[in-house]
């Protein structure tokens, strides 16, 4: 399955985007997000960008005030996921131009559309920025 969820959470622990690739109830999500964010926030810059939590491995990366967290299972290449996060950020950068937390908040659906292109069934399916963004650009033009 690979990727189990992708979260964007700010420094205060507030969720800015959440996409789960397996079903969790609202309560389970709430608890999981709280636990993970607490764990990751407590870590220093030098420490690994990977944290094991329950049966997940969390790969996280911080950009200014925003944390990107990806929950994966044991078979994933952690460093590659770390770079996948950066690819996502680069893609959003290309679309929004120097993306920030508020961009994602105001255009939540677009951030989700990008993720929909990049990850399906918990697998990375598309890594070409042009391919990821073209449907979104077409939709922007049409409306």
């Amino acid at each position: 399955m690979g990727i189990r969820f992708i979260l964007m959470v700010n420094k205060q622990g507030q969720t800015r985007l959440a996409q789960y690739y397996e079903y969790l109830t609202l309560e389970e999500r709430r608890a999981l997000e709280g636990e993970i964010v607490r764990k990751c926030l407590a870590r220093t810059e030098q420490q690994c960008s990977f944290v094991e939590h329950r049966n997940y491995k969390i790969v996280y990366r911080r950009y200014a005030s925003l944390f990107f967290l990806v929950g994966v299972d044991n078979e994933e290449n952690e460093l590659a996921i770390l770079e996948f996060i950066h690819l996502l950020v680069e893609t959003m950068d290309r679309h929004f131009g120097n993306v920030c937390e508020l961009d994602i908040m105001f255009h939540l659906e677009k951030a989700h559309f990008m993720l929909e292109e990049m990850v399906m069934n918990g697998c990375i399916v598309e890594t070409s920025k042009a391919n990821i963004l073209s449907p979104i650009q077409l939709m922007d033009k049409a409306s």
């Binding site: 709430r30 290449n77 929004f96 939540l108 598309e126 449907p135």
Partner: protein
Amino acid sequence: MSSQGGFGHSKEFLDLVKSIGETRSKAEEDRIVLREIDTLKSRLSSPNTPKYKLKEYLIRLIYVEMLGHDASFGYIHAVKMTHDESLLLKRTGYLAVTLFLNEDHDLIILIVNTIQKDLRSDNYLVVCAALNAVCRLINEETIPAVLPQVVELLGHQKEAVRKKAVMALHRFYQRAPGSVSHLISNFRKRLCDNDPGVMAATLCPLFDLITIDVNSFKDLVVSFVNILKQVAERRLPKSYDYHQMPAPFIQIKLMKILSLLGNGNKKSSEQMYTILGDTMRKCDSASNIGNAVLYECICCISSIHPNPKLLESAADTISKFLKSDNHNLKYLGIDALGRVIRISPDIAEQHQLAVIDCLEDPDDTLKRKTFDLLYKMTKSSNVEVVVDRMIDNMISINDRHYKTEIASRCVELAEQFAPSNQWFIQTMNKVFEHAGDLVNTKVAHNLMRLIAEGFGEDDDTVDSQLRSSAVESYLRIIGEPKLPSTFLQVICWVLGEYGTADGKYSASYITGKLCDAAEAHSTDDTVKAYAVTSLMKIYSFEMAAGRKVDMLPECQSLVEELLASHSTDLQQRAYELQAIIGLDARAVENIMPMDANCEDIEIDKKLSFLDAYAQDSLEKGAQPYIPEDERSGLSNISNFRTQDHESSTHALRFEAYELPKPSVPPKVPSVVSSSAELVPVPEPYYVAEVHQPAKSSPTVSSSGSSELKLRLDGVQKKWGRPFSSTTPSTSSSDTFESNNGTTRHESVSSTKSKVHDVSYDSRKQQPEVSSEKQKLAASLFGGASKSDRKLSHSGQKVLKTNNHGAHKDNLAKAASSSDIIKPRSQPPPDLLDLGEPTVTTSAPFVDPFKQLEDMSSSDRSATVANPPPNATIAHLTKQPSKGPNIEEFLEKDALVRQVGVTPSGTG
């Protein structure tokens, strides 16, 4: 583009997002969301809301759920929006639906129709949107509704559609493999798609398929190797490049597949060697993504049939990882080391100091990974050090999930490699004390059995020493608060069996301790059961030894309390205890023989010891016993039995009993047979019944023939096993587990390492200084490199104590001999840059073994100017050349972080 983005966002939406963005506490956020829920409820219920407004409301609903509140009141509006003509609204509708609903939600049925329609759309973006939804919402039942269309779309002219159709099939395969088993060939076809995106997507389902069935896809090795080659040669469009690497994510996926296909298959593996070597060479080890690909190469190399050359370059990369200052790379290095170590065990030695640094690192992720590595490289020579470390670590962690894992690993390693039983028991005690409720109860029973059976040798004194030391340690521990239930059970059992065995402790002392334990854990019925049975054993042993038994007042009150217990099990035990105390010494000795827990209990099924008694009764005119199978012809009562005589007597019968015929010939009462018909009870019942057969038989037979009913007399005895079968044994204590109303209170012992120091551990590691580190390295890596795993129990029994002593000597020798060499390579990390001089000074201290090793890996050492005397020094000399690379890398990383995002404040 400004983050304010006008894009038709209403002021309301902008205000909502801003206020959410500005909240500083969860409570404040909750207030905002609750207010928003009210607003949305009223807005959504009003008719004639313009569509563009509805889209915004949906996104606000997504916010509500994302922030942890229920938005189910608006789900239906999301479903409705999927019907919309406008692509943007439709896709937003689909997005909201996939975020809100799981695949079994009732509303899905309303969407399937829309999906079917959209899959036929002329607009490929609509088809894509529908396929996205298919991947999230279609469950096993609805697969047939869309399957034909999805298969058709595999041939769509737009690559984006083909890609998503492949993923939809992948999803179907995940949900119900059977539904697409006839379509596997489509995946093979799509692997050759002209579009690299479709090809890359196809790797996902193929990976899953190959994981399950390698053999059917062996023929694809060539294709995968070819694709990887083309990717590495930059034949893919530039847009797939990431940080100057050609399509690294595709490379990684391909190597994951190759490692599956090459695992244990020499022929397939040989086809991969060249490309793997090339890929490794081309990787840029200064970038994260380059290292990610390198790491994947190592994973692949260690999984396929080994190739010495590739393993060597893997080893080089691993040492680069381990020497890096970047913790992520160290982490990968430790992980990779754990993979390669299975193939070339001696590779660990050169990295021992790096490994120990990681073990002591405050970064718990790194530490945890290093413990994984230690677990993988444990052998009989280093098991004591590894398990000690693991236990120390286990005590310090709070995470239940991880604690359970590490506790079970300690148990596993101890069972496999224990150098002595003494050590095994001590180790188990520690594990139980600190994580007793997290380990399998089977482990507790193993421990009890081990203490009871001892070494299985003739030498009894060793066994009794072992038991005495167990008793002693348990007497010390038993008073501790918050001991895990399982551990208390073990303690009670051992104290009951062996508490008074060596005569060191008086019965009243032990029984007092047991009572205290039962009292302190009054909510734990299992512990109380163990305690009271142990009391019974101790009193029996006392009586059998001819001493007078004075029950302590607290024991008396405990027994009285249990006599009235709600747990029938406890009650039973208390009654038994009372009964035994009333018997004479000779009887007690037979009931509870000393130290007989390992003896098999022979069950005399024929009850031959009653022969004389039966004979007696017969002579007095009682009816003889007729075996069941011979009875059918004799009695009419058994008539119905003949119809289904196949069914055994003890099986449950589900059909109604026939009404008894009133014309039963009273001349054939056959007491025993009729009562056996009515109440099929196991043999012990008769033992209790036999007391007054003559008196009870007439009434039984008469009532039995007139109306069939349950006989309740004597039933109480059914629960009580006849006393003769309560001989102490481990197996009988197993049954205690299942008693009703057992409440286990979770007493995960909070980190009380002090307790554990004082109680029974003198060997605990002192806080490390650097020479200490060397010693640790020597004991972890230095010992004999035999990695043969022994079978758990047979292994333990074979080991003798004198053997153990010799073994320790070896260990000490190994440690001291490596101590002599090690000080040369001792300089702490900041001296690493000295390089050359260190090499020359250490030359005289050449270890012959190390030399041998160097000869075997001569080409590696040849690259260094001065042939290094040992591997550790090799890494010292290489170190300086690494310097600039790391700096460059760190700079890049910092740069990347800077260019990424600007702080939110600017918005």
